[in-house]
């Protein structure tokens, strides 16, 4: 009788930590292979359409980076909180509030041709996201209310609020009664970055956030305190690291990044306010934060993967008549496999021979 058993490692394995995103990605490919076969498609062709075709031209690469930017922004912000055990899962709502605040500025200054409009919009977007994330932070620090539930509830509230605005107060009077705002003026749109693509400077904002996120967590005292608060809450408390400061910082940084992502979307590829402005980027960012190991560099690559899943889903729908909801399925699978393979960070597999077998051999 051979038994498998998990045995605690004396030290967590860094190698296993970086391997498990790769294992999880491989598992998603395998599941995709099986799933596409089961649906009567040629699995190799389907995988090609899903994962290769969306990135085989310059324009497509631009799309990949364009979609990756908001996810990257949200994920970098969330990771700061997650490192400190601050569970903000409402980035989607904070993103929507960022879009509302930024979009509100764009609409208010529609007829001014100042170059400052865009800058004010971006700042307003960050403020919007921060205000929305300040609610769970306040309720957690003042009333001890669980930030997971509060931040998630606020996603629904934010999306209803956006729906209210575009159906009513902010509806374009010349929009044939469609629930949408006016198109933003040119000075309220992010400038294009690479000719012949739709890629805009939102990517630079996201990359800046990645760099700042790395600096903050690695080089700043506040970032160090947050890491300690996450790794050893008791020790952090003993060392005088304020728990409520940690919650506030984690929440506000997450909200600011998500808000910036929201305003970049409406000032970028969308160009106006619509009832729905994000296909779940804020939720995808949760997965990206974990797959990227809560590390800015990892998050960069993980958001490219996530963006590819979105593009692949669209391509599979158009070219193979596969449902685009396969994207959501792959996203969830990716995170589940990642968490499962993370077991090897703290444990190793031991093959045990049960005593019966030993007695026989002897």
């Amino acid at each position: 009788m051979i038994r498998l058993r998990l045995e605690a490692r004396p030290e967590p394995s860094r190698l296993a930590g970086w391997l498990s995103p790769i294992v999880a990605t491989a598992a998603v490919l395998l599941i995709g292979f099986v799933l596409f076969s089961a649906m009567g498609k040629d699995p190799w062709q389907a995988l090609y359409v899903f994962f290769i075709e969306p990135v085989d031209t310059l324009y497509d690469l631009g799309e990949l980076l364009l979609k990756a930017s908001p996810i990257m922004l949200c994920a970098v912000g969330l990771a700061v909180g997650y490192r400190a055990n601050v569970w903000n899962i409402g980035a989607e709502g904070q993103l929507i509030m960022g879009a509302i605040f930024g979009g509100g500025v764009a609409l208010a200054f529609h007829d001014t041709d100042s170059r400052w409009v865009l800058a004010v919009m971006l700042a307003a977007g960050m403020v919007g996201g921060m205000l929305w994330s300040a609610i769970p932070a306040f309720l957690r620090t003042r009333f001890n209310a669980n930030e997971i539930l509060v931040s998630l509830m606020l996603v629904y509230v934010a999306s209803l609020f956006l729906s209210l605005l575009v159906h009513d107060a902010w509806r374009d009077p010349e929009g044939f009664n469609f629930p949408q705002s006016k198109m933003f003026a040119d000075n309220a749109l992010l400038p294009n970055l690479v000719a012949e693509t739709r890629l805009n400077v939102g990517l630079l904002l996201a990359l800046a956030a990645v760099a700042l996120g790395w600096l903050f967590m690695r080089k700043s005292l506040a970032g160090y305190r947050m890491r300690v608060a996450g790794l050893a809450p008791a020790a952090a408390n003993y060392a005088g690291i304020s728990a409520s400061r940690t919650v506030w910082l984690g929440m506000l940084i997450g909200g600011a990044c998500a808000g910036l992502a929201g305003v970049s979307e409406v000032a970028g590829p969308i160009g106006q306010l619509l009832p729905v402005i994000s296909p779940g980027y804020g939720f995808a960012a949760i997965i990206v934060a974990f797959v990227g190991r809560l590390h800015p560099v990892g998050i960069f690559f993980a958001s490219l993967l996530m963006s590819l899943l979105y593009l692949g889903g669209e391509a599979a729908q158009m070219r193979l008549a596969l449902p685009s909801s396969v994207t959501g399925l792959f996203q969830g699978t990716l995170l589940l496999f990642l968490l499962a393979s993370d077991v090897f960070i703290h444990y190793r597999l031991r093959v045990m021979r049960a005593p019966v077998a030993v007695a026989k051999a002897a």
């Binding site: 509230v157 209210l164 949760i286 997965i287 959501g328 996203q331 589940l336 993370d342 077991v343």
Partner: protein
């Protein structure tokens, strides 16, 4: 009077999905495991129940299938957290995201399908009695079942040896393990039970409450159920009361429209979410009460060798 009775019947109907999901989660949490995947399990329960009901023409087979689907999904969570020792918060989130994706994927062809729903009880003579007829005999069979489930859980947790062991595992897995109870196996069972209940709550939504399937049709009820367990400070009867309270709040939007209240519908749709936040803050503000009532090992992993 008749109107009030009708309103009460509607409130019970609206609260029932929350009763199922929150009672199941309560049992899971009593064993010390926090499964944030309720929303995902409800959705998968709803869609599988609907598909099976549509294929077999038997809504009751659908109910069973929905429970099985919820339990199957929770099994993934159990393997990842209990055997593979993954973080419960992250894994629960993952399960919810996975369930949302999976249900949208498998339910795609069933969005506009019509099924034979599970209808409210109608007992000749009895259900037609004025006022009490509707109140006592006019509910959906699944509403009665949820009350039976409540009574069973209340009895099991606080009147049986099994319930005592389950609670002991939640309070102190180390001690329970030392006495010789199979902590991991008990937690597996508690998680599976929670999953089946969430699946049943989903099945109630898609087969009885609103017989249809639409993507994301739970609209956050799984998360509200999680909050309910906290509001209820882990007491089944308070879960029941809270679920009906929130059932009443979700009804407010339809009632207000009927009464001619001039308010954009979005404001009224926000109500359940805002109410959840407000009540959560009020109940949680006394950290000592939460600490006293929450299972002591909630959310902490347990490995028999360490």
């Amino acid at each position: 009077m008749d109107h009030a009775a009708a309103l009460l019947v509607l409130t019970l109907a609206a609260g029932t999905p929350l009763v199922y999901a929150a009672l199941g989660e309560l049992v899971t949490e009593k064993s010390g495991v926090l499964n944030l995947g309720v929303e995902g399990m409800m959705l998968v329960g709803a869609v599988v129940a609907f598909i099976v009901a549509a294929m077999t023409k038997s809504p009751w087979l659908g109910v069973v299938a929905g429970m099985a689907a919820g339990a199957a999904l929770s099994l993934i969570f159990a393997v990842v957290t209990l055997t593979l020792q993954a973080n419960q918060v992250a894994s629960g989130l993952a399960l919810s995201l996975f369930g949302v994706g999976l249900s949208a994927f498998i339910g795609l062809d069933y969005v506009s399908v019509v099924i034979e729903p599970i209808k409210p009880l109608s007992i000749a003579a009895l259900s037609d009695l004025p006022v009490i007829g509707k109140l006592l005999f006019g509910h959906n069979p699944l509403v009665y079942l949820s009350l039976v489930l409540f009574a069973a859980i209340q009895w099991f947790l606080f009147r049986t040896r099994g319930g005592l062991v389950l609670r002991a595992v939640g309070e102190s897995p180390q001690s329970a393990h030392a006495i010789g109870y199979p902590v991991v196996r008990i937690r597996y069972l508690a998680v599976l039970f929670g999953g089946a209940c969430a699946g049943l709550g989903g099945a109630y939504l898609s087969l009885a409450y609103n017989p249809s399937w639409t993507e994301g049709m739970t609209s956050g009820r799984g998360w509200i159920a999680l909050a309910l367990v906290v509001f209820a400070t882990w007491k089944p009867w308070r879960v029941l009361a809270g679920a009906y309270l929130f059932g009443g709040v979700t009804l407010a939007q339809f009632q207000a429209q009927a009464l001619g209240v001039e308010l954009p519908s979005q404001y009224l749709s926000m109500l359940p979410y805002v109410a959840t936040i407000v009540v959560l803050a009020i109940i949680s503000r006394d950290a000592a009460v939460i600490k006293l009532n929450a299972p002591a090992s909630l959310g902490r992993p347990f490995h028999p060798d360490s």
